[in-house]
């Protein structure tokens, strides 16, 4: 098991490099602009950079990123990108990190509650709300929260002056994710509660709380955790919107700015970091998976996919 995760962790960097290669190739073949000098560096000597082939540029980029943490030059300001990019990453990670906790903290109990009240009004209420919120564009939710809590009740500032003001962007981020988690948890829990082993546990006189929280919930956590990757991906998407809405300097606004000004180096940097974050997420997802499903520990082998719906 340990070996499996060591391999998974070691695989992160090659995965990210593969993503970079993909983007490089796509850029060179599809963008149709001058591809001889896509990434600009601080120590570029004018006139010399044009000689690099695509592969050389790729090699140089990977080397600089992983060995020297050098993401190149910010296209619009001619200043090194690394510091700004890392600062922005920290902002986004803080938001999404707290967001993912809040997401599961809200989503899991809601899903469990709905499943235990299956067929009653509480269940239909939660199911309707979660379906609605999981489809709602995050800026609509942000607008609603801001209009109500900031402009009407005046509890918080739109401009995010106090730490407490961050509740609104965080709520925007996590409510939508929580809706997804609640949906999956409810479905998983409802399925588990119908399984024969729940009946046999009840027939042996185990308490309701043990049957629901110790046994059924643990089984329902498998589908809930298997979407960790997707939940995090959605949070990153959400943070693009939230950062723009609340004028935060995070990765999201960096991407928007880079696309707007066609700043390839900045966009490459953002893509690299997001690819890195998502690869780490993949490992975390597998880890969570093994955590709730100990019987998988034996069957873990290299290259096998854990998240397969048919392995129940």
């Amino acid at each position: 098991m340990l070996g499996y995760f060591c391999k998974r962790i070691l695989l992160i960097i090659p995965t990210v490099m593969a993503v970079i290669l993909l983007v490089f190739v796509l850029m060179a073949s599809l963008m149709g602009t001058d591809t001889s000098r896509m990434i600009r560096y601080e120590d570029d000597v004018p006139g010399q950079a044009g000689q690099l082939s695509l592969l050389e540029q790729y090699g140089k980029y990977c080397y600089r990123v992983f060995a020297r943490r050098d993401f190149g030059l910010n296209d619009s300001y001619n200043s090194p990108l690394d510091e700004d990019l890392l600062k922005r990453t920290a902002v986004t990670l803080k938001m999404t990190g707290i967001g993912v906790f809040a997401t599961y903290l809200i989503g899991l109990p809601l899903g469990v509650f709905a499943a235990c009240r299956r067929g009653r009004w509480q269940d239909s209420l939660i199911t309707s709300l979660t379906t609605f919120f999981s489809a709602l564009p995050s800026f609509c939710l942000a607008l609603g929260l801001v209009l109500f809590f900031a402009l009407r009740l005046r509890w918080v500032h739109v401009t995010l002056q106090d730490p407490a003001d961050y509740v609104i962007p965080l709520a925007t981020l996590s409510v939508i994710g929580a809706a997804n988690v609640a949906k999956v948890t409810r479905a998983g829990m409802a399925e588990v509660l119908d399984k024969p082993f729940v009946l046999s546990l009840r027939s042996l006189g185990l308490s309701r709380s043990s049957v629901i929280f110790r046994h059924a919930l643990k089984n329902a956590l498998i589908p809930a955790f298997s979407i960790f990757n997707t939940v995090f991906a959605n949070l990153i998407c959400g943070s693009v919107v939230v950062e723009r809405f609340f004028n935060l300097r995070g990765l999201g606004t960096c991407i928007i700015g880079a696309v707007g000004s066609r700043a390839t180096t900045s966009l490459m940097g953002c893509v690299t970091i997001v690819a890195l974050i998502m690869s780490v997420c993949g490992v975390v997802t597998d880890l969570l998976f093994v955590l709730v499903n100990p019987s998988l520990r034996r069957t873990l082998s290299f290259g096998s996919s854990l998240r397969r719906g048919d392995r129940r």
Binding site: R118, G119, K195, P196, F197, L199, S200, L201, R202, S203, L204, G205, L206, S207, R208, S210, R214, H215, K218, N219, V292, N293, P294, S295
Partner: protein, 332 residues
């Protein structure tokens, strides 16, 4: 019949399930009893209400199920009138249950050991972790498992069906219940494993003086194991009596039909096995008369008009059929 001999006595049980099409009358008149140290078999085809009756007794009906009438006396208490909390303390410690498909009856995310110790400790919280572990291992070896220590550390998905059923029976007997309800415990198993589980149940009954309520559709199994038999059809009890009474002097046409459908080794092959014509009844729209009338070869006017009353034939033998006369069998 001595009253104190009877461990569980179910009378007039009525269970229905609410569905969009209407109430499904799963059990309309369920009456049976289990005596101390005896095995009572409930026999019937699927949909006869045999399993639902057992679930109702333990308060384990699926959502939508409702007990509408009846009593289930067990040690002076009416189980059907008890609250969930009191029932829970009875389940597992005084009455236990074993299910049809052992492979799905165990939580796949817990080892056999943690499952067994949790069951034990939930009924006697004072038991220490280590003591519970040892007790569970001992119970597994009583079940005929050779290496309990190894099995205790395994997850259910690495165990065979017969092994799972042994673990399930061990869990059921861990707290020394007086009554074991076995709901078709061998149906999902291979024939050779079936035999092992049956002899295990028989041995446990003899060694521990335990009573068993054995639910099955297999009259052959009943013949081998049961002291008393209750035959159900369409939610009604058709006939009940001691095993010899049912096998030798079956009074009800349905019981006879079931018996003639069993292949016998001593059969010379002169007569074909009898098959029952027709379809089982629709439990939402029960016929006004006898529920078996539509399929009964001896059906006459009365059968379609009124439900037959249960007649005592003496010696604990009773049947519900218009053709059965007091003190005798159906004149057919």
């Amino acid at each position: 019949m001595a009253g104190n001999d009877v461990l569980l006595e179910v009378k007039g049980l009525k269970v229905s399930f609410g569905t969009p099409r209407g109430a499904v009358k799963a059990v309309s008149d369920g009456s049976f009893s289990v005596r101390r140290g005896e095995v009572t078999g409930i026999v019937g085809e699927s949909g006869s209400g045999k399993s639902v009756s057992a679930y109702a007794v333990l308060g384990l009906l699926a959502p939508g199920g409702r007990v509408e009438a009846g009593t289930a006396l067990f040690g002076g208490r009416d189980l059907l009138a008890l609250g969930e909390k009191e029932l829970r303390s009875i389940r597992g410690s005084e009455i236990s249950m074993v299910f049809q498909d052992p492979m799905t009856a165990l939580d796949p995310l817990f080892t056999v050991g943690s499952f067994l110790t949790e069951v034990l400790r939930s009924h006697s919280p004072k038991t220490g972790r280590k003591e519970a572990w040892e007790k569970s291992a001992k119970m597994l070896s009583v079940m005929g498992i050779r290496d309990p220590g190894d099995v205790m550390r395994r997850y259910p998905d690495s165990l065979s069906g017969g092994m799972c059923q042994r673990v399930m029976i061990a869990a059921a007997l861990l707290c020394d219940p007086q009554l074991l309800i076995a709901d078709e415990p061998t149906t999902a198993l291979d024939v050779t494993i079936q035999e092992e589980i049956l002899s295990l149940i028989q041995r446990l009954k003899e060694e521990r003086g335990m009573s068993v309520l054995f639910i099955t559709h297999d009259l052959g199994v009943v013949a081998r194991l049961c002291d008393r038999v209750t035959v159900m059809y369409g939610g009604f009890v058709m006939e009940s009596g001691s095993a010899p009474q049912i096998y030798e002097e079956a009074a009800h046409p349905y019981t006879k039909a079931l018996l003639s459908a069993i292949p016998r080794l001593d059969d010379k092959g002169e007569e074909p096995l009898a098959a029952l014509e027709g379809e089982p009844i629709d439990p939402i729209d029960l016929p006004r008369g006898c529920v078996f009338a539509p399929r009964c070869p001896y059906c006459f006017e009365d059968c379609l008009r009124t439900r037959p009353r249960t007649l005592d034939l003496g010696g604990g033998h009773s049947a519900a059929c218009h053709l059965v006369k007091k003190g005798g069998r159906a004149d057919v």
